[in-house]
């Protein structure tokens, strides 16, 4: 049996080696492989695959390798690979709002020299992204603009035969389309749905009241009447007119419209193809209707989608990449996208071809784009989104008035823009005393750590091998060494990397020329009141979670630790939350917390008569929702540990106790608990550490800290507020504070529980 397994294993190793060799030969002499990373959703991906296949058959010496990653992930991955290792793909496809950050980080190549003026004049100027005098992106599509999608069938049912032509009409139509079909007091069909809590989806209305996110100098302009009125408008649609659901994120809106449970939807160009195919939707598309109060049209943001080039290319390869880029943005390629997906080509000639010009969807889409405004491509935009989100969501949640919200988003935006460029404040030529001190301190610390490492691991190892120590210890050291080398080999570099970065000013504009600035990042962390606020929250999060994990885990283990018919199947059913990937179950839990249709509220209402709870809108409830989800996820692990631990307790102890007349509770307290402890303590200690740093569940259930960035724990907060804005130095210092707190806590905790002592 074992031999059989072995030979199979070696066969498998051989197979994977052959595969690697094959891969090697593909990379080798015969063909050049060009890499292209893109965030295209499935329908566009299909077109891209066809185009690349065509290109490869035209150029047998080239092989194009495509890699899909989600929008944010492709940006981050490109930044790591190109910004930090000078590697990465040859081409990056993405929306134009990547531009500012890529340029600031020096990881994108100017393209104006590769294209003749004649070639460039074939493009709509909006399809070419210039930044600070250079051309960085060649677009193949104008996209991402929002428009009004409506379901003609539902319109006809209430006697409407055209889309609304003003916002007033939008509300009127919306009221007609909002229907409680079965009269149970719950609306079954809404007039309008859209992802209205996200600022991007709010922008058209802000613009229709005359507002815009920034002025010519990229300064935020968010505190004005336009913002106040637009806030009120959206809030009234929900609270006064009741035509939109109380809770509606992207997926809820999408799902409702797609299943015929909503008359109108505001959504972007990327999504329309799906609705055209839905059996529940008779697809209609219209421009966002005019605002009768101001006479302005809502202006959605338009992003050019297109190709960026890796700056480290040169020679023959560079030529090949440019040629590929010209093919992918060429007229035929654009025609393919436009005819199959109704996208707006950037080449004017393609737009005039009859199949495109006469397509009603593209016609409406072009009209909508003509009323839209280009998405700002400077990195400030990122800071502005992060500032608008909490203010806007607080207004919708009722914890701020529209006026307070407008003032707050401006204040936060100004602060975040400053943070984005904080690294530049450092005077580079001045002799920096604190830097020298920190360098020395860091050096000493490193020497000290290396010495400790040497004393703790390497010295005993050497001694052990040399036989200086007694036989006994040598055996021990030899048995620990492989695991220790494995773990520390992986951890040491990242640890010291972060330590160094935490003393530096590394940020968006200083990725390539960061320098040590001393302890100021730590100072910033410690003087930020939010740090303490989220610290307290993280402690609550950790304690509640771990306590409930352990209590339920041990209880279930005790119930299962006896002869019980059907035990095997029950055990596996109870372990399932651990076995199913948490990135899908956490999202399912989010769905179950929906106010109207979530299973949690339906069950609470049916069985206990409890009124619907707004789980995801109220900050406290949202936090409780994340805890419930994480408790669900964590119980099986503790149960398994406890089950394993219970096996080590000899039955005879219980028998002896019974004879002595001990009650069940006494037995549990005097026998079970103390003997379970050595097995549970490591799991609990690590459980605390993991829960403290568990970003995934918080992020998925609260959709990145919503509402209003109030549902964070420390790790998700640092990710949102620092890492996301490229504040690498600050984020590293913040993470080190987290690390130090955990280390300090663990020392105390372990001393108290004598976790390193043996039981016997």
């Amino acid at each position: 049996m074992i031999g059989n397994f072995r030979s199979r294993l070696s066969q498998n190793i051989k197979r994977s080696l052959t595969f690697l060799l094959l891969l090697g030969s593909l990379l080798g002499v015969e063909k050049t492989t060009l890499h292209l990373w893109h965030p295209m959703p499935a329908p566009s991906r299909a077109v891209l695959n066809d185009l690349v296949a065509e290109y490869e058959s035209l150029h047998p010496e080239i092989s194009v390798h495509l890699l899909y990653k989600e929008n944010e992930e492709v940006r981050m991955a490109y930044m790591s690979a190109t910004g930090f290792t000078e590697g990465g793909p040859d081409l990056l496809y993405g929306p134009s709002d990547f531009t500012g950050a890529l340029v600031e980080m020096n990881i994108v190549k100017p393209l104006e020299n590769f294209f003749s003026e004649e070639e460039l004049s074939a493009f709509d100027p909006k399809g070419l992204t210039w930044y600070e005098g250079h051309l960085y992106q060649i677009g193949d599509e104008l996209g991402n603009h929002l428009a009004l999608v409506y379901n003609k069938r539902l319109f006809a049912e209430v006697g409407l035969d055209r889309p609304p032509e003003s916002l007033q009409e939008l509300i009127e139509f919306g009221k007609k389309l909002t229907i409680d079909k079965d009269g149970d007091g719950v609306v079954d069909q809404y007039g309008l749905v859209w992802n209205f809590t996200e600022p991007f989806f709010f922008m058209p209305f802000y613009a229709s009241y005359g507002g815009w996110v920034m002025d010519e100098d990229q300064n935020p302009t968010l505190n004005n009447d336009a913002a106040v009125n637009a806030f009120k408008f959206v809030r009234d649609m929900r609270d006064v007119h009741g035509i939109i659901p109380i809770e509606c994120d992207y997926d809820i809106a999408d799902s409702k419209f797609n299943t015929g449970a909503a008359g109108m939807l505001i959504n972007g160009a990327w999504s329309w193809a799906k609705y055209m195919e839905s059996p529940h939707v008779d697809f209609g598309l219209a421009v966002l209707p005019i605002n009768d109060e101001t006479g302005l049209f809502p202006a959605p943001m338009i992003a050019t989608k297109g190709y960026y080039m890796n700056p480290y290319l040169s020679g023959e390869r560079e030529k090949q990449v440019v040629e590929l880029m010209k093919f992918l943005t060429g007229a035929d390629a654009q025609f393919q996208y436009a005819s199959r997906l109704a996208t707006i080509p950037t080449r004017l000639e393609v737009r005039e071809r009859p199949q495109i010009a006469e397509n009603p969807v593209i016609m409406t889409s072009i009209e909508q784009v003509s009323r839209g405004r280009a998405m700002p491509i400077s990195p400030q935009m990122r800071a502005i989104w992060d500032a608008m989100r909490p203010a806007y969501q607080n207004v919708l949640g009722g914890s701020m008035t529209p006026e307070e919200g407008a003032a707050y988003q401006q204040e936060v935006a100004v602060q975040k823009v400053a943070e984005l460029f904080e690294g530049q404040d450092i005077d580079k030529d001045a002799v920096n005393i604190s830097a020298i001190v920190v360098y020395l301190a860091g050096l000493l610390l490193a020497i000290w750590a290396l010495y400790k490492l040497f004393v703790a691991f390497i010295l005993p190892l050497v001694r052990g091998i040399a036989g200086v120590l007694v036989q006994e210890s040598r055996f021990g050291v030899l048995m620990v060494a492989p695991a220790a080398l494995f773990i520390f080999g992986v951890v040491v570099y990242p640890f010291f990397y972060n330590l160094v970065i935490s003393f530096s000013n590394m940020g968006l504009t200083t990725v390539n020329d960061w320098q040590i600035i001393g302890l100021s990042q730590y100072g910033k962390v410690l003087t930020d009141s939010q740090f303490y606020h989220f610290f307290l929250r993280t402690v609550i999060w950790t304690v509640v979670n771990v306590v409930l994990h352990v209590i339920f885990g041990v209880m279930l283990a005790l119930l299962l630790n006896r002869p019980l018919p059907g035990k095997g199947i029950i055990r596996v059913l109870l372990i399932l939350p651990w076995a199913v990937p948490s990135y899908i179950t956490a999202l399912t839990w989010r769905g179950m917390f929906n106010i109207d249709y979530g299973a949690v509220n339906i069950i609470l209402n049916k069985f206990f008569g409890i009124e619907p709870i707004s789980w995801l809108i109220d900050p406290t409830n949202a936090f409780i929702a994340t805890i419930i989800t994480n408790v669900w996820l964590g119980i099986p692990f503790m149960m398994i540990i406890a089950l394993g631990g219970l096996q080590s307790i000899p039955q005879e102890l219980y028998e002896a106790a019974s004879i002595d007349g001990a009650t069940a509770w006494q037995q549990f307290k005097k026998i079970t608990l103390p003997l379970l402890k050595p097995v549970m303590i490591p799991a609990i200690t690590l459980g605390i550490v993991w829960t403290f740093n568990n970003i995934n569940v918080v992020w998925l259930v609260s959709n990145g800290g919503q509402p209003g960035d109030q549902t964070h724990i420390l790790v998700s907060f640092v990710y949102r507020a620092a890492f996301n804005l490229y504040r690498y130095g600050y984020a590293a210092a913040f993470s080190f504070m987290i690390f130090l707190m955990l280390a300090l806590f663990s020392v105390k905790f372990m001393q108290k529980n004598k976790a390193t002592e043996t039981a016997y």
């Binding site: 891969l23 010295l459 029950i570 596996v572 394993g644 000899p650 740093n693 993470s735 955990l742």
Partner: protein, 277 residues
């Protein structure tokens, strides 16, 4: 052995039934999504099997995507991680439980320390490190990282379990002439089977569902492990929920099978009753 009365049985089953319902309901929702036509995340009824159910999503996984290859890749990576985890943790845990050598306390604590740094911050330096070691696009890079994430807990957990096994057992074996290693291998290791099961399960799970590191390391679709393959159905605003849910269920099946198989041995350790602690 204590006698369990009928009433007690009733109460135990009631409690377990409630726990099972709580534990599987959200997973049933995932199944519901996976057998619904179209790709709607939301279901607006409590029923588990929708009227118009279909296995289309499951079929699509294997016909339109190299899902079979991804499964194979994942098995290769995970099995190696599991093997590494069990081997290294069972030996290291034993030494840390039984011997007092210089650096023992430090090793124990530093194992814990490695888990304390927020993982999101380690990604970038890990990528830089793997890149300079030319381990990008290799399974080796992935296996090393996964093993080192799983090991600290595994070592601790093994050590904790060994602590509950009396020394007298090895002493008896040593007196009978067994070497140190043989005493460990023949006597102690079989007794620690519940802890070995936990170690195996834990190493398996930390590799089986991981995608963040994998997405950084692997650039070729044909090299993907299951979770990154699965992630490619999730896009910013256009997630294919049906496929995503179906894929998640398929990812779970081998995990569940392994749990089923291994939990038998969770109870398999010899009882210690024969030797008075």
């Amino acid at each position: 052995m204590k006698k369990t009365s009928k009433l007690q049985y009733f109460m135990i089953y009631t409690a377990l039934f409630m726990a099972v319902a709580w534990s599987i309901y959200p997973i049933l929702r995932v199944i519901t999504i996976s057998i619904r036509p179209g790709d709607n995340l939301l279901t607006e009824s409590l029923s588990i099997i929708p009227e118009d159910w279909t296995f289309d999503n499951y079929i699509k996984l294997f016909t339109d995507h190299p899902f079979g290859t991804w499964i194979w890749n994942s098995i290769l990576v995970t099995a190696t991680v599991m093997l590494t985890g069990v081997t290294l943790a069972s030996t290291a845990g034993y030494a840390l439980s039984r011997f007092r050598f210089p650096g023992r306390e430090a090793s124990l604590f530093s194992l814990l320390v490695t888990q304390m740094f927020p993982a999101t911050m380690l990604l970038l330096p890990l990528f830089i490190m793997l890149s300079s070691l030319h381990l990008i696009n290799t399974y080796l890079g992935l296996i090393v990282i996964y093993s080192s994430t799983a090991l600290p807990f595994c070592v601790w957990s093994m050590k904790g379990y060994y602590d509950t096994i009396p020394y007298s057992l090895e002493e008896a074996a040593r007196i009978d002439g067994a070497s140190r290693f043989m005493a460990f291998y023949k006597i102690i290791l079989p007794l620690a089977s519940p802890a070995l099961v936990i170690t195996a399960l834990f190493s398996f799970m930390s590799a089986w569902t991981e995608y963040i590191v994998a997405a950084q390391v692997l650039w070729y679709e044909e090299m993907f492990t299951l979770p990154i393959g699965l992630k490619s159905f999730q896009a910013n605003m256009t997630t294919e929920w049906g496929l995503y849910a179906a894929g998640a269920m398929i990812v779970s099946i081998p995990a569940i099978a392994l749990f089923l198989f291994l939990t038998k041995y969770l109870i398999g350790g010899l009882t210690l009753g024969s030797v008075k602690g």
